[in-house]
Symmetry: C2
């Protein structure tokens, strides 16, 4: 094995740099995942980390490593977790902080950065633009530029998470880590492989942006739920670490990112962002099987996601679980016509989600109107019962298959 680019002394120093700020996040068993996929599966619940992601580990170490120079302040380009971490660390050190934010960054992340007292500036269209602007600003002002991942001090900070895994899980066998720029995956992998080369390390990328898997994305902004790991270009420092220490890189599909987020709430009781949930996606897709001996750890790297995204994820989940019944019904266009139909649904214990009149472009008799109905039902069997009841009551009703 080639000499690793970061030694244990540097990682222990990073741990000290985080004292009082970085939490030792819990390892929680996932009975739900273990029952579904076999093996013994646990989560590293790093979404519960301060600032909502692992990035504070690297940020604290980076600022501490600057020594007196930190007083000139720090500047970074980021759409999210790195920005929050640098802003929080700068406040902790009591130094100025400027963040360049690309267009379309999440509202809640921007608010958090502002709440930590950082100055925000428009940072172009993409993450690369924002990073480049931050670098220019640092060059022009003498402030310290903080790269989101391609920096030994940042990687040493993220590596502290690997140390916690080794210490807290005695029979650790397989680790799944979300892979973006490579700071977290690289740090975790180089620690664990030195402690025990038999521990298997899997990096997980998302289809929309998987340069480490050899499929770089197209130009322009990337649309994905896993925006936290949508990094287009591997780092000059991190790439060789990933190549040396990571056993396998898998790429998960966008739909499975959504499924993993919903699963983590519904069964894991944890609120995890898309980029933080991809390890679960890789188990769901069957691309990675849990270890048959020893513990499999899925690193949930962050929880910073706008609430506004959830309703559509949940609607999709409910539809797939057969909990939505759509139908088109012709009813009498007289007083009480709709009321009578809705009463029937109530009797069938189906919950009304939406009702809309449809009169245009449909074939109707005089004194008749069409309504489109969305109901919440218990499942396919219940949906069939409801349709039967509606037809038995004399309605002309069609189920709409939206799938």
């Amino acid at each position: 094995m080639a000499v690793p680019p970061i030694d244990f002394a540097a990682i222990e120093a990073a741990r000290l740099a985080g004292v009082g700020v970085v939490k030792r996040t819990p390892i929680t068993e996932s009975a739900a995942l273990s029952e579904r996929f076999g093996g013994n599966i646990v989560f590293k619940a790093e979404n519960l980390q301060r600032t909502g992601s692992f990035k504070i580990r690297g940020a604290m170490n980076k600022l501490a490593s600057l020594g007196d120079a930190v007083k000139s302040g720090v500047v970074a380009g980021s759409a999210g977790n790195h920005a929050q971490a640098i802003a929080f660390a700068a406040r902790h050190f009591g130094v100025p902080c400027e963040i360049f934010v690309p267009a379309g960054a999440s509202l809640s992340k921007i608010e958090a950065v502002r709440s930590y007292g950082a100055t925000l500036s428009e940072g172009g269209d993409t993450l690369s633009d924002a990073v480049a602007l931050a670098q220019s600003r640092a060059d022009a002002t003498g402030m310290n530029f903080c790269h989101p991942f391609d920096d030994p001090m940042v990687v040493a900070g993220q590596a502290t998470l690997g140390l916690e895994l080794a210490e807290d899980i005695s029979d650790l066998s397989l680790v799944l880590v979300p892979l973006g720029g490579g700071g977290l995956t690289g740090g975790v992998a180089l620690v664990l492989k030195q402690i025990n080369p038999k521990i298997r390390i899997v990096g997980v990328q998302v289809r929309a942006c998987a340069p480490y898997a050899g499929t770089p994305p197209a130009d322009g902004p990337i649309i994905t739920l896993a925006d936290g790991i949508a990094v287009k270009t591997p780092g000059a420092f991190t790439r060789p670490i990933i190549e040396q220490f990571v056993d396998e890189i898998v790429v998960v599909e966008e739909d499975l990112v959504a499924d993993a987020m919903v699963f983590l709430m519904d069964r894991g009781k944890l609120y995890v962002e898309g980029g933080g949930a991809v390890g679960v996606s890789a188990l769901m897709s069957g691309q990675i099987k849990p270890a048959t001996t020893g513990t499999t750890c899925v690193v949930l790297s962050g929880g910073n996601v706008d609430l506004g995204i959830l309703p559509s994820l949940i609607r999709r989940h409910e539809t797939q679980a057969g909990r939505r019944l759509l139908m088109y019904v012709r009813i009498s266009d007289r007083p009480g016509g709709l009321a009578r139909l809705l009463t029937l649904f109530a009797e069938a214990a189906a919950n009304l989600v939406e009702v809309e009149h449809m009169r245009e472009g449909v074939d109707l008799h005089v004194r008749e109107t069409g309504v489109q109905i969305v109901l919440e039902v218990r499942g396919r069997e219940h949906a069939d019962t409801v349709m039967s009841m509606v037809r038995a009551a004399g309605y002309n009703a069609d189920e709409i298959n939206a799938g």
Copy 2:
């Protein structure tokens, strides 16, 4: 102090009864709550407990305490967490389990109970009905009846959570516990008060059902987000414990239960059910101030809530945060009329949530149509900017104040 009804040996026995099943759930710091309300606030993340709530602690102890008699099987009446816990424990002991479920119980909870192999029966309209039916069934069959809270073995099991708090938080000063039947609050209180009488214990009930606070609910089913603590009648065994060991009982409003659930996801990154979140509600309302010295612990007692409930909670939150703009606009009823308006919104970086034509009962010129628009915006300032842009483009637009 009167002799407590449960001694430490019984609680240690309960701890042993849970070995291999009950998790020692993590204590997590809540920087977000501490910054907002002061003090040092931590969560006991019992939503991460096996079966999704603290109930497994009491259930394991109850079944263990039955000795050989457990082989006759167990029967319980419950709409949720107790049912899941008893079903899981019965599977662990390899004995038959029957659960009586009241009407309107949550789909995901019922599914979980079924997945553990229990037999489900209709259990009347209310929780009391279901408990009574379970009792009758036990009397008729010789199966073991398992009460959800009014049983010394169940209270001893829940008391193990109190022991963990004492062991894991060295400067524990104040504890907020969701209060339903009194099994959890009673168990936690009697442990902590004996270890250190200065630790202040607050039980939190929800407005819809607060018998311990002297406001019993009306007859019939109770509608509340905090269904897990909607217990109408305190227990004969638990009531004296609550009276002896609990310092204060507060009652929180329904809206604050919703706010607490959203806050816990957004800032705490934890998925917590309404009944599990009421401790946070009590801080939000200002009814309880965090301790000025020592740590305040908020017990998050469970996480079993249907995902289907979230979209409406989140919509409410986004509206209150000023992230929704509703307007009524008259547009040209020619090809491209709506497209031109929507392009304007895109330029204003406002995200379209809903658009609906409104032609009935509104005053329109010929070749004009009305549309009702819902937009996602960044806040009040952004909303004002969007309205100005729309008017500057020559539209007749009115903001709709839905509040």
